[in-house]
């Protein structure tokens, strides 16, 4: 069985640093309003169910990396830009109290989970 080639590509460089430059042009920028796509998850995902279909704002363009859905099968052929996005709590949870409407959730998502809002 072939061993993971991770060490070969990342030693002395770091991960996700070793994927720098592999994703091409970032589709979104800081400040963009995005929506989490309602893709059907199959077998594995790290896009939380509570984010699906929700509106968010891009707060940072963080790094390039293979998405976890691929990396979980040791497939690092394709890298994407990852974004840190912020959701209003009231966007996520129907019962979230108005008095605390300022509260938010921030999380990171690979580009394929996002679309322009």
């Amino acid at each position: 069985m072939s061993k993971s080639h991770h060490a070969d590509m990342a030693t002395g460089i770091g991960d996700p640093q070793c994927f720098k430059g592999k994703a091409g042009k970032a589709k979104f920028k800081v400040g963009d309003r995005v929506r989490v796509r309602d893709l059907q998850e199959v077998f594995y995902t790290r896009c939380q169910d509570y984010t699906r279909g929700a509106l968010a704002t891009v707060t940072e363009v963080v790094y390039e990396s293979p998405p976890p859905e691929d990396e979980a099968w040791d497939n690092t052929d394709r890298s994407e830009w990852f974004y840190s996005v912020v959701f209003d709590m009231k966007e996520l949870w129907p019962e979230y109290p108005d008095v605390y409407a300022k509260d938010t959730v921030e999380t990171e998502l690979p580009e394929f989970w996002l679309e322009k809002a």
């Binding site: 069985m1 993971s4 199959v42 594995y44 939380q48 169910d49 509570y50 990396e71 996520l92 949870w93």
Partner: protein, 127 residues
Amino acid sequence: MTERNRQKRTKDAPYPTDFTNARFVECMRTPHDVGGEDDVPMEFEEKEEEVWEHNTFVTCEVLAWRGVWNAEERRRRQNVDLGNSNYLAIPYYGRWLLTAARILIDKQHVTLTELIEKMDEVKKRYE
């Protein structure tokens, strides 16, 4: 006979026509995705680490260091593939350990018979 009994038939796995898309989506949900699920307040604790728990953590990291797997493969297997029941029933590091054992067999570094025999040999050392 009641109407209800007349309409009953012995059922095994559901037919596709009984299985809505909503059910399909529910079945596809991954066990680790718990954010926002209902739960009740619980006393938050610290915990002493078992020797085997510490060794398990180190083994999992060293397996990744030496290229047997990467951490994302481990998470997928350990937190999702193990299944819903095991996710909640087995201790946290128990899942790490079973997953480490599993990768050795799946990637054919060790045969299952070897693992079974070795575990038995180890158990006997404590007798």
